[in-house]
């Protein structure tokens, strides 16, 4: 018995991966259906839609950056002390005394910057490919909220090292907020937790950075993924429907049905021309 067989031919492995390696079409469908992460995708995707030069994988890379930020961020939380007296020193100590401390801090910093860039480029890709158009209109709005959250996450993290760079960037930022017409003072006070940058500011931004904003991001990005499926997956070209004579056929199975079904029934898609592909239906079960 080879090593591979030893590892895979046992009860535990089979309980984890019921189907074994996906080497047949049936198994290729089942591996997606049976995996929490892969089930974000439909079992089959448009070849045009997954061309690298169409999406550049920017949405996927954005969430991957977020995952890496969460991992490196939790590591940093073990050592970081959110107090005005200790914050800066805890980072000095992290850099000097902790195995992989400097590395994880670098990783968190560069992943944060690249995530801002990736999210921005993802928005730009979606715009220039016209992928915001109905029925994906609301998901575009969600995307704008996610962009804003990305900026806020990055900016709240910027204060935490409590060095000169952080302190004065936040001074510039909170002064901008303080220029809000009519409620400027209130905005500034809410941002700072007082009249000047200090302990209340640090604890406030720390809490937003490590709990509130990441949770909001997870909630909204999940909705964003779910809507991608509901709105008909990765966008592909559309053509004007031929009028009149085709009308009856279109009514039988409007293109939208496919999108609406995507949540539960996309494993057996209804073809836009109304024929229920037999092969797909078989794969579904």
């Amino acid at each position: 018995m080879g090593l591979r067989e030893k590892l895979t031919n046992n009860r535990f492995f089979k309980s984890l991966y019921r189907e074994g390696y996906p080497d047949s079409d049936r198994k290729r469908v089942m591996v997606v259906i049976n995996s929490l992460a892969l089930h974000l995708h439909p079992v089959r995707v448009a070849k045009k839609g997954i061309k690298v030069t169409y999406t550049w994988g920017l949405g996927g890379l954005s969430i991957w950056a977020f995952v890496l930020l969460t991992i490196s961020g939790v590591f940093l939380m073990f050592y970081y002390i959110p107090s005005v007296r200790d914050a800066w020193w805890s980072i000095i100590s992290l850099d000097r005394d902790v195995y992989f401390g400097q590395f994880m801090r670098n990783m968190h910093r560069w992943a944060a910057h690249t995530m801002v860039i990736l999210v921005f480029l993802h928005m730009t890709r979606v715009f220039y490919t016209g992928s915001y158009k109905p029925p994906r209109d609301f998901n575009w709005v969600l995307g704008i909220v996610l962009l804003t959250l990305t900026f806020l996450l990055s900016f709240t993290g910027y204060l935490l090292p409590w060095d000169q760079l952080a302190y004065w960037a936040i001074t510039v930022g909170s002064n901008m907020g303080g220029a809000t017409p009519f409620i400027g003072d209130q905005v500034r006070t809410a941002l700072l937790g007082g009249f000047q940058i200090g302990q209340p500011t640090l604890i406030r931004w720390y809490t937003l950075h490590v709990i509130f904003l990441p949770l909001a991001m997870i909630l909204l990005v999940s909705t964003h993924f779910w809507r991608v499926r509901k709105d008909g997956n990765i966008s592909t070209p559309v053509y004007p429907a031929p009028p009149e004579e085709e009308e009856a056929q279109v009514k039988e199975a409007p293109a939208d049905v496919e999108a609406d079904d995507a949540g539960d029934g996309d494993e057996g898609d209804v073809e836009p021309d109304g024929t229920d592909s037999k092969k797909d239906a078989g794969e579904d079960s």
Binding site: R28, V29, V31, V32, G130
Partner: protein, 244 residues
């Protein structure tokens, strides 16, 4: 309203995804390779480049220049040219709201799924990018070098002529921020006979080019006292390292 919504629903299109392939392995393998490339690049960068950590925060020592993180430097650049309420709050809020409104203005599904939605999109994109960049750079240069008594800029010059301060800090910037995208829309409509989607491409490109150009100027061309200078003249900001 109800009637127009109904009319809209009548836009019938055929979505033709074309050939479809199994997610495993066709898409999953692409995602894996992309994730690995990003992870390797990030790891390499994290080994080679240290995240900055300068002196302990000190409210008594103001760095010169004091800059926000790079993605806000476009806004900080605007701050040099207009009223802070406009640059710091109203413009960014308006940008986010207008971005969100795009799919509710451009409702037609034609052009979905094609980069730049067809052959006209690319020249419109190129023209809009250059048009916006030229305007941005020209206005930044004018505001920096236009002499106005002991200082410089459009606002101070108008004040010298007796206009109240808000004319230079609010009215003139609003005029430019409206005129540039408006004129751009008119040009692409006339030159390319642009439809709603193509005008939208021009306007998004106006946003994109402004963001890129102003961020680059704010990051690489603003040095001591936020004066305009070449990147190699900027040096290290004062008050970040070594106390004092």
């Amino acid at each position: 309203m109800a009637r127009s919504l109904q009319a809209e629903e009548e836009e019938r299109v055929i979505e033709d995804p074309g050939e479809r392939v199994h997610t495993w392995p066709n898409l999953v393998s692409i995602e894996l390779v992309g994730a690995l490339i990003y992870l390797i690049a990030l790891t390499a960068m994290s080994i080679l480049v240290k995240a900055p950590l300068v002196d302990l925060a000190n409210g008594e020592v103001t760095p010169n220049p004091a800059k926000a993180p790079w993605y806000f430097l476009g806004l900080q650049e605007l701050l040099l040219h207009m009223h802070p309420a406009l640059a710091g709050v109203i413009v960014p809020s308006a940008v986010l709201i207008l971005l969100g409104a795009i799919p509710y203005i451009d409702r037609s599904r034609a052009g979905t799924g094609i980069w730049f939605s067809g052959p006209k999109g690319i020249p419109i994109f190129k023209f809009s990018f250059i048009y916006t960049s030229v305007w941005n750079i020209a206005l930044v240069l004018i505001d920096e070098y236009l002499p106005a008594g002991e200082t410089h800029g459009i606002g101070p010059l108008l004040e010298m002529f007796g206009f109240p301060a808000p004319v230079g800090s609010v009215f003139v910037p609003l005029v430019f921020m409206t005129f540039i995208p408006w004129s751009l829309a008119i040009i692409v409509k006339r030159r390319w006979n642009a439809n709603t989607r193509e005008v939208m491409i021009a306007l998004y490109t106006f946003f994109l080019a402004s963001f890129v150009v102003l961020t680059i100027i704010g990051t690489a061309f603003r040095g001591h006292s936020m004066h305009l200078m070449w990147p190699w003249e900027i040096g290290h900001p004062e008050g970040l390292l070594g106390g004092h």
